[in-house]
């Protein structure tokens, strides 16, 4: 972002006491969002944050912008109304894996499909926090929770793969503990005109502590995280000595040593969704975990299409209220 920061992080803080559990990953996300917003060059009153229900959805109360804390799962639908009716607003949705992937799944995929200019921050902690610890659609199979004492039978899905399938135009992943990377990813999402999804891996230290430990802990991080960088080969490891390539069927393969040169060169703007889909569905145990931008393709937004039709219709036909009412076959009675 080149715009001069007009506001500081502090300007985005509200007078409300933040009420997440101490140690919750949401704190670092709030910090990253406030950091990103202070760099975006927007004014407070130009931004609207719409949320659903869940721990994450308390977010608007802690941001000194317009905020609408709505009902479970419906934030993308409400935000679509906000953005379509006033495209000049900067509209963000804050949601969670239960809110967006379960009860609100339908609104989520259709926002993606329409390419409404919403920035969706989905906090994925792979659990229901606010209702005290039931499994979510992103919980791993076999997870033991209060509602699955013998382990879940459900299979989880990948929100990134779902979004790719729904035709999303900006799809990225960040992690709560990778503050600067997350802040940067949020800035990139903001720069996108259509629907932007940032899935944020978030630790719920009360009900699902350590869900992401296996790849976020300082000791393993370098070896387990694959940073997606546009135009650069898919390399990872402290010494960048491992890479990912795809076979003819777009199945990922690890490459090392002399084969490192065969690592796939990442293109987040590619028309073909297969590489992004392959990364989104890579087995977490076997492969590194990708973070960064999976896909970024510009496409006209929903609201611009709607506004263009209205502008064209107004230019083509001027009709007074009287003419509208006194239309069709009318007759006079004396």
């Amino acid at each position: 972002m080149t715009a001069t920061p007009a506001l500081s992080k502090k300007d985005y803080k509200t007078d409300q006491e933040v009420r997440w559990c101490p140690g919750c990953g949401d704190y670092s996300i709030l910090n990253a969002v406030q950091g990103a917003f202070s760099k975006l060059g927007k004014q407070l009153h130009e931004t609207v944050i719409v949320s659903g229900i869940g721990c994450s959805s308390r977010f608007p109360y802690y941001m000194e912008t317009f905020g609408f804390h709505t009902i479970h799962g419906r934030a993308p639908a409400i935000a679509t109304g906000v953005k379509t009716s006033n495209p000049a607003l900067d509209v963000w949705v804050v949601t969670g894996d239960g809110d967006a992937m379960s009860i609100g799944g339908n609104h989520f995929i259709h926002a993606m499909r329409r390419n409404v200019g919403l920035k969706i921050l989905m906090f994925n902690n792979r659990i229901y926090g606010l209702t005290k610890g039931q499994f979510s659609p992103t919980s791993e199979q076999g997870k033991v929770t209060k509602s699955s004492p013998l382990g879940t039978v459900d299979y989880p899905f990948s929100p990134i793969a779902l979004s790719l399938g729904a035709g999303g135009t900006f799809i990225a992943r960040g992690i709560d503990v990778f503050g600067p990377h997350l802040e940067d990813t949020i800035c990139k999402a903001s720069a996108h005109t259509g629907t932007a999804l940032v899935e944020i891996y978030q630790n719920c230290n009360i009900f699902n502590d350590g869900a992401y430990k296996g790849f976020t802990d300082k000791e393993v991080r370098e070896e387990r995280i694959l940073y997606l960088e546009h135009g650069k080969p898919l390399l990872f490891g402290a010494n960048k000595d491992k890479g990912i390539r795809f076979d003819a069927n777009f199945q990922p393969q690890l490459v090392t040593g002399a084969d490192l040169g065969k690592a796939y060169v990442w293109d987040e703007t590619a028309a073909n969704v297969a590489p992004a889909m392959a990364l989104a569905t890579m087995n977490e145990a076997e492969f590194p975990v990708p973070v960064g931008v999976f896909r970024r393709r510009e496409k006209p937004t929903f609201e611009s299409g709607i506004q263009a039709q209205i502008t064209a219709a107004k230019a083509k036909k001027k009709e007074s209220l009287r003419d509208l009412l006194f239309a069709g076959e009318i007759w006079d009675v004396k």
Binding site: T14, Q16, P60, F68, T84, A88, A313, A327
Partner: protein, 635 residues
């Protein structure tokens, strides 16, 4: 347009004056009965008659041809006097096949005219219509004046020179039937010529064939001996002004668009297709040149949610639906109540429960509209009573929603939505003003208070995002009054519950007093709401003429109820309330006023017939000792 010059010269048979006629067209869903009825209606409206219509069609787009469930009908009544309903028993039945005959003959008035298409009376056709024997030969049709015409054969002959294939030609048989009726009822064919030319502008061969068929039907009636007399129904004495024939869904749309313009607001409709409300979505989507945004959402919930989002950002959010959709929207309406945002919910009721009978009418969503949400969740509820009345009701809904910052449910129903009547067009300059004042920019150093209230209405300010100095947070969680901060305090919750209720109750000070037909005291008051109005009015007028002390009134405002309603109810020995539900408004009134309101319930998917209401009221009056002066008058 009140002369019939095209046709009058050509009548050399008898011409008889009538003051009203009820015609029912019935055929297969694919027979074009709705189009035929619609054409007859337009022509008749232009000729200055009062008219009321009742389309009655199956839910299936094309049910299997020739079967009983596939029958589609269109009833219209036109007259030389002011009418309130599309009539009860038809005087004329046009039956295009045995199935249509089977379904509708029982309702044809004794001595009435049956125009029967004899083209499809094979054994199979009869079987599909569940006739064991041919009804034409077994005495079934005795007691009616039967005119048998092989419409298909006649139409094929008439279209000998047309370029259409035989199937295409046969499809013009409805126009042949229309031509016959135009002759019988002395109608001008010019408006239909114009309408058909427009409808098929891109297919000249269709225009030609349809018009040829219509004219051939007209000529056939004129020349053959089966038709002895034509009838004339002179124009009605209507209030001076400019008229347009209008259907309920249409006028509801015009009402909200007019209100949006008066208020200076952009309209945003979020909707999901549902019978019988889809036409609202269709029609509003043609008003882009008036700045109307329409959003076909992924589901009913997204439809209402997008409308709430639009209202939040300063547009007027509207959502249109029917009962099942209303059920899905309940939680979101509750959010709009909590967020205290304007929202207009158009519920075109249909026969439930569940999927029920989507194309049939009912008024059974009243309690749902009033109470069908979690918590104490009051909204304003108003009801349209006729197709033309829907304009005013749509307009009023917008006025109330923005003035009180509250969701307003408009109840219409399938009968109003698809029925039509002449509408005396309002002068747009004299429509009531709808002032809207958004919260102004905040001053630096001051904090915006989203729940500070107008002391008179209790409405909070409408604060548009994008306005400097107004940043604030709202939501579905209970909040402190004035500041809007999340608040679980016991006293505050009680206060907010009371405030939201009082805000809706305050609307009662803002609505006109009850109107009655007849004196404000007497033996019986027939109270109605919504589309029962026409049948109630017709029955009451007749009973008044028969010498009874009976009056009627129609409620537009269901929540809150008018302040003078209780006194009005207490002015009568008995209050009778006909409803197309199991007594929902009766229950509300009984509990609110402790008055023994007598419910007259009919829930069969059909509108009340005025003669049924008349008969019911006669019994009630008799039980009160009122016998009237027993004058016979017209229906």
């Amino acid at each position: 347009m009140q002369t019939t010059s095209t046709t009058s010269a050509s009548h050399d048979k008898g011409l008889q004056d009538l003051d009203q006629v009820v015609i029912r067209f019935a055929g297969d869903s694919g027979d074009g009965m709705q189009l035929t009825g619609d054409q007859f209606t337009r022509t008749t409206a232009l000729m200055g008659n009062d008219i009321a219509t009742f389309p009655d069609f199956p839910a299936e787009i094309r049910a299997p041809a020739g079967t009983l469930p596939g029958v589609s009908a269109f009833q219209l009544r036109f007259s030389s006097f002011d009418i309130h309903t599309p009539g009860d028993a038809p005087d004329v039945l046009v039956a295009m096949n045995p199935a249509a005959l089977k379904v509708h003959l029982p309702e044809l008035r004794k001595d009435g005219v049956l125009l029967l298409n004899t083209a499809s009376f094979s054994a199979l056709d009869l079987k599909k219509a569940k006739y064991e024997k041919d009804p034409r030969t077994d005495g079934t049709l005795s007691g009616w004046r039967v005119i048998e015409v092989d419409l298909e054969q006649r139409t094929l002959e008439a279209l000998a020179t047309s370029k259409l294939d035989n199937r295409g030609k046969e499809r013009c048989k409805n126009m042949y039937a229309l031509g016959i009726l135009y002759w019988m009822f002395h109608r001008d064919i010019a408006p239909t010529e114009k309408a058909i030319a427009q409808k098929f502008a891109k297919k000249p061969e269709l225009v030609e064939a349809n018009l040829m068929a219509m004219k051939a039907g007209y000529a056939y009636a004129e020349t053959t001996e089966i038709f002895q007399t034509a009838y004339r129904v002179p124009p009605a004495q209507m209030k001076p002004g400019t008229y347009r024939n209008i259907m309920g869904n249409q006028s509801l749309c015009l009402g909200v668009v007019a209100a949006g313009q008066k208020a200076g607001l952009q309209l945003f409709l979020g909707s999901y297709p549902i019978t019988p409300a889809s036409d609202i979505l269709h029609q509003l989507s043609t008003y882009k040149h008036h700045g109307v945004v329409t959003f076909q959402a992924e589901d009913e919930i997204a439809a209402v949610c997008s409308a709430i989002g639009a209202s939040y950002s300063g547009s007027l959010g509207i959502t249109s639906t029917s009962g099942p959709g209303m059920a899905l929207k309940a939680e979101a309406i509750g959010l709009a109540v909590m967020a205290e945002l304007p929202l207009v919910i158009l519920n075109v009721q249909r026969a439930g429960p569940s999927t029920g009978m989507p194309t049939k009418t009912q008024q059974a969503d009243l309690l749902q509209a009033m109470y069908g949400r979690n918590g104490e969740c009051p909204v304003a509820v108003i009801a349209a009573s006729t197709p033309a009345d829907a304009f005013e009701v749509g307009y009023e809904a917008v006025r109330l929603a923005v003035k009180y910052m509250v969701p307003v449910v408009v109840l219409s129903d399938g009968y109003i939505a698809n029925g039509s009547e002449p509408w005396l067009l309002p002068d747009p300059d004299r429509l009531p003003a709808i002032p809207v004042a958004f919260a102004p920019e905040g001053q630096p150093g001051t904090k915006f208070l989203p729940y500070a209230r107008n002391p008179e209405t209790l409405a909070r300010q409408w604060a548009k995002p994008g306005t400097k100095g107004l940043v604030h947070r709202i939501g579905g969680i209970e909040k402190q009054d004035v500041t809007g901060n999340i608040c679980y305090d016991a006293d505050n919750h009680q206060h907010m519950i009371d405030t939201r209720a009082q805000k809706v109750a305050n609307i009662a000070r803002d609505i006109p007093p009850m109107q009655t037909i007849g004196p404000r005291t007497g033996d019986v008051l027939v109270l109605g709401w919504g589309s029962t109005r026409g049948a109630i009015t017709a029955a009451t007028l007749r009973l008044q003429q028969e010498g009874h002390e009976i009056s009627c009134a129609c409620l537009r405002y269901l929540n809150p109820l008018p302040n003078d309603l209780e006194a009005l109810l207490r002015g009568f020995k008995k209050v009778v309330l006909p409803e197309m539900n199991k007594g929902q408004l009766a229950m509300i009134l009984r509990s609110k006023y402790l008055i023994d309101v007598q419910s007259y319930s009919q829930v069969n998917g059909q509108p009340f017939k005025s003669h049924d209401i008349h008969a019911y009221l006669q019994k009630t009056l008799a039980s009160l000792g009122s016998t009237g002066s027993a004058k016979e008058t017209r229906r």
